[in-house]
Symmetry: C2
Subunit: 369 residues, 2 copies
DNA sequence: TTGTATGCGTTATCAA
DNA sequence: TTGATAACGCATACAA
């Protein structure tokens, strides 16, 4: 399986399969100085085109790979970027990190990933770790237990640019990439309205987190736009778990005029609502339309599939890298903190789609109990 | 919010809040050589205890952070580890990576993560990237499209240790950390047997992948041990998707003597089987018990919750790091390739648990349609 | 256009 | 036990 066609040529063509080739090696072979090599490889202006070609050719022949550490040591700027996320398991951060890695790689950077595990103490340790690795910049999504931000000062002191994403120090002058959660809540609610829903309930999340506040705001905005009065009894505050959301839904259904739709600020919450509704014999979406938030993996696995809001996670990662590289470029002296806001996308699925009932009545509904 | 109790002391106690403190700075302050500083900090044997204390104290006062790049450049060994995974989204690799990161951090290493996106071309690029970042070692889980392994030779040439995990070059002399998939298949099948299942079917995965071959083997082993003849009609080969698995299940249920249990080699496959069974009016687990593999997140969200096999992903990550650090320690000259095999764990959930029926007949079954 | 010299921060070698 | 020196690989100010 392994000894096929590539073995015999091993010693015939190139034998420089050894330890790393340095600029000095190339210089010696060409009888020039390392300065010339350096200039040719970094496309310096004061280099002869002929010489440049010679160097490049030789570099390719020997498969020269620049030593990032040496370069970084000399320049004071490495080709490493640091990321701190609360955790990597779960869809959201995994996808954001993927976006980060893609964008960073394209720009010739490597990415060091740290997880705070939602613990500010780890966050501090991660920062130290990244600093001693001499990263050129840092991207952070705050741990849930971070209420004090002095550990980030050290970055500024050392001139290492910092960009937050998703979870951000609020009201401060920081660089950040965010999702427009209000827009997401607005889109989901408006969709339910266009499906003909008359009484739309909202399962809201903890209001000390801006994302949930904004999703609630979007819900209100959509209702107002449609001229529907907001009924406070239709808004329930939960911790976004499946269990609490099911409970809240039970309470909603016990109202004298129960809702005919639920917009949940999270997918697990939407799932809890859906399970409770079906448990009570209601048909989703006919009797009760449902929309969630986050596009978790299970939303396409559930029955029926769940309408949700996608956060364009990868795009967030890429935008974060773009902003960070910009700051690295300018030297981070020009302190004009910027906030980018990304638009979410509504994904309409079966849990909210009533239109089908009109075109082809009870087509799929008949197949299910 | 930010200007509280830490501001006034800023200039009183320590003002070294500046650019990175180097050994030279400490040396100057103490009137000794950098050599002495280096020795004190690295706990060299030829250092006076008094001097050592003085240095350590000063280092703490100035919050000295070693420059990993300089150290790496000098020693030829960095504090960076490289990881290449097919992708990071999805539960398995995310958890393995978490385990890797935890173990690496504990040992004072940072981790650079690369994703091949199941493309061998990316895998090659990732390797180059890691090499130029001067990583001290590399951990790889092969891309699905990797059938040729010469790009890994370069690591050996440069003396950079390599450890595979989960997806491995087979039959070769490599260091690897694996899961005992046979054991997993065995445990799941045996569990179904103890639940009283008489005819257990198996939804098998692509047999060119060792993991699926081994799970199938475990299935056979359990049956043989129980004295049940293996019925070839009960083994169906699918691509492990929900759709194909549902189809295969339909075929199984159409047999003259249909199965009363299904062990699927993957959770999505198990889900497809479960959905098909219920669609045909069967009750899970009473009429048809089901077990999957991988402990995907949705297995606890599905109704009923799905019995599955957990792969101890984090442990795999930690074991991989441990093995790698060992190789880095010995210099990777001692070429005694080792294969570690981890034991999986069976997680029994509702989709296979028939015991409840005997103790409290149709307790929960009544609540559901 | 090319070369010389120097230093980034750390550590190994040798000498004191 | 401590210090002086050189070197890791690269990039820049300066000289030629």
């Amino acid at each position: 399986m392994s000894s096929s066609k590539k073995q015999p040529t091993d010693s015939s063509k190139d034998k420089p399969n050894q330890s790393p080739v340095s600029m000095a090696d190339l210089a010696r072979e060409l009888g020039v100085s390392t300065t010339t090599i350096s200039r040719a490889l970094s496309d310096h202006f004061s280099i002869g085109p002929a010489m440049k070609q010679k160097v490049l050719k030789l570099a390719k022949k020997y498969n020269y790979q620049p030593n990032h550490m040496a370069s970084a040591l000399r320049k004071g700027k490495s080709k490493l970027l640091g990321v701190i996320v609360p955790y990597i398991e779960g869809r959201f951060f995994a996808k954001v990190v993927h976006g980060i890695e893609t964008a960073a790689t394209k720009a010739g950077y490597n990415v060091i990933i740290c997880q705070s595990n939602e613990d500010v103490a780890n966050e501090r340790r991660n920062l130290e770790s990244l600093l001693s690795a001499q990263v050129a910049g840092v991207m952070v999504s705050l741990s849930r237990t971070t209420h004090e931000f002095h550990h980030f000062d050290k970055l500024r002191d050392r001139g290492v640019p910092l960009v937050f994403f998703d979870r951000v120090i609020e009201g401060n002058n920081v660089n950040a990439v965010l999702l427009d959660d209000r827009e997401g809540g607005y889109l989901a609610t408006r969709h339910l309205l266009t499906q003909g829903c008359q009484r739309i309930a909202h399962l809201a999340g903890p209001q000390h987190l801006n994302i949930y506040r904004n999703r609630l705001q979007g819900y209100f905005d959509a209702l107002r736009e449609a001229g529907q009065p907001a009924d406070e009894r239709l808004v329930r505050y939960t911790d976004m778990t499946q269990a609490q959301s099911a409970e809240a839904t039970r309470a909603l259904l016990a109202l004298e005029s129960p809702p005919d739709a639920v917009f949940a600020a999270g997918d697990y919450s939407a799932l809890g609502a859906m399970q409770e509704a079906r448990r009570q014999g209601l048909c989703v979406p006919t009797d009760m339309a449902i929309a969630g938030f986050s596009n978790e993996a299970f939303t396409v696995v559930a029955e029926p599939t769940i309408t949700t809001v996608d956060q364009h996670c990868e795009e967030m990662g890429q935008a974060t890298v773009r902003l960070l590289l910009e700051l690295i470029g300018v030297g981070s002296n020009a302190f004009i903190p910027r906030q980018l806001s990304l638009r979410p996308e509504l994904l309409v699925r079966d849990s909210s789609l009533r239109e089908v009932d009109e075109t082809q009545p009870l087509a799929t509904a008949a197949a299910q109990p």
